[in-house]
Symmetry: C2
Subunit: 249 residues, 2 copies
DNA sequence: GCACTAAATTGATCCAGCTCATTTTAGTGC
DNA sequence: GCACTAAAATGAGCTGGATCAATTTAGTGC
């Protein structure tokens, strides 16, 4: 494990055995919507889940696949991407341990309308939708919690619509950086490092713009000493100023 | 009621008394997420609701107001608008009888992050969030149904993000027209009339573009005989072609 | 039928951001 | 330390759609 690493990102180096039954129960209790369950209840729910390890860059499911499972990130990061007919991609969400993904209420004929791809090595739990529906029916607090999270995501999504409709690229990117900093940031000698492989392309797909434009904006931010960045990583040096930029009229 | 009406839109002409207790119970059973309840259960739930009549153009609540109620459209149309700092508006959703709005899981300190405004005369039912939470806990099928609808809205919202990020204005507008046609369309001698006051500004706020551009696009569609339109109304004459335009590569 | 008004249209100009093409560089493996 | 490669940066030119300004028109009230 003494290979030279220049990236400031800490590697997960998740081995297969890290994604085992042992880890599951412990982690499942950390998932927001299972937090209110008792140990016994948790153990029951846990039995319905299976764990899988994915390497960096693997596809978990593809847009258009039949939606049969609900999944939960236990370790690592997952990105949800929606692909256009002509191959452009839109990055819908970046997930963290504890986040669920897949359609919680899909019927037997529904398909995923996005592709899920690991952004690091990752450990993912899956439960069959049928079983999850059972859990929801049995534990109202779980249902409430899932509804909570989904509503929150809807609100975020609507905010993004607003930004795409009304803000110029610079502000959109500034806002995205601040959001990512809040969600994935880790204080560090370089500043607030976004602990996540994050390319210009990823940012562009989040901001709804081209990589070139993203690169130009990032260069400007770097010149103004608001960020530092290298390949696939970004650290925020001046969050207040970025926030100001994203919100100024 | 024999006033001259040139608009092809049928007016609701909803009087106050149309929005009364009498109407409530009947309508409440039509709301998707109460469909599975028995008559007795429905009556109980019904007691928690209060009915209000709003005239065309009234504001039901404002972005930033404390979120205390969940609301359901019984009659008429409601639009959800998000306002920018500098007064631009984004039309988030157009609601129909049966649709709920307001934040179903808001905590005691949450605020609405959009403004709700009637687009016609309207009858609206309200339930206190606390009471609604009770209903959800008591009836898992209601919780499931609300989750269902919220998930569906999230998916729609994400599709819109994709369109804003990747499609040119013409295709976005074509797609919006088809969607509105499917949701609010009524066959008519003019074609598929969108039964809803719908200005160029409304369309522009949905498509994330300017009224002028929207007007130009609509003029082109009219020249190509895809639509007919007047003030605040649009009828679709060739849906297949609009659909083709919205999806072509 | 006529006058009135807000909605819609149309015109002209401009620029933010896209596209295409090329060069530079950060990070890795050896 | 050096070579290699994919990511990032940069340049130049072009265009979709915004903006500003003026005109037309649909629908209503009288």
């Amino acid at each position: 494990m003494s290979q030279k690493r220049e990236t400031p990102l800490s590697s997960l180096s998740l081995e297969g055995h890290h994604c085992s039954v042992d880890l599951r129960l412990e982690k499942l209790g950390m998932v927001p919507f299972f937090q209110d369950l008792s140990e016994e209840q948790l153990r029951q729910v846990n039995n319905k889940f299976t764990a899988h390890h994915f390497s960096n860059g693997e596809t978990i499911y593809r847009q258009g696949d039949l939606s049969t499972m609900l999944r939960v990130v236990v370790a690592g990061n997952v990105k949800l991407i929606s692909h256009t007919l002509k191959g452009e991609s839109v990055l819908l969400d970046m997930l963290q341990p504890g986040d669920f993904f897949g359609n919680p209420t899909a019927g037997s004929k529904d398909v995923y309308n996005e592709t899920a791809e690991t952004q690091t090595d990752a450990c993912i739990l899956s439960i069959r939708l049928h079983d999850f529906r059972g859990v929801i029916n049995q534990y109202p607090t779980v249902a409430m919690s899932v509804l909570d999270i989904t509503t929150e995501r809807l609100n975020e999504s609507r905010q993004r619509i607003q930004h795409l409709s009304t803000l110029p690229v610079t502000k959109r990117i500034a806002h995205i950086l601040v959001t990512l900093g809040n969600k994935f940031g880790e204080e560090n000698r370089r500043g607030l490092l976004i602990q996540l492989p994050l390319s210009r392309k990823d940012l562009a797909d989040m901001a709804g713009t081209s990589t070139e434009t993203t690169s130009r904006v990032m260069s400007r931010f770097q010149d103004d000493d608001l960020i530092t960045s290298g390949r696939q990583w970004v650290a925020i040096k001046n969050k207040p100023e970025l926030l100001r930029i994203s919100a100024e009229s």
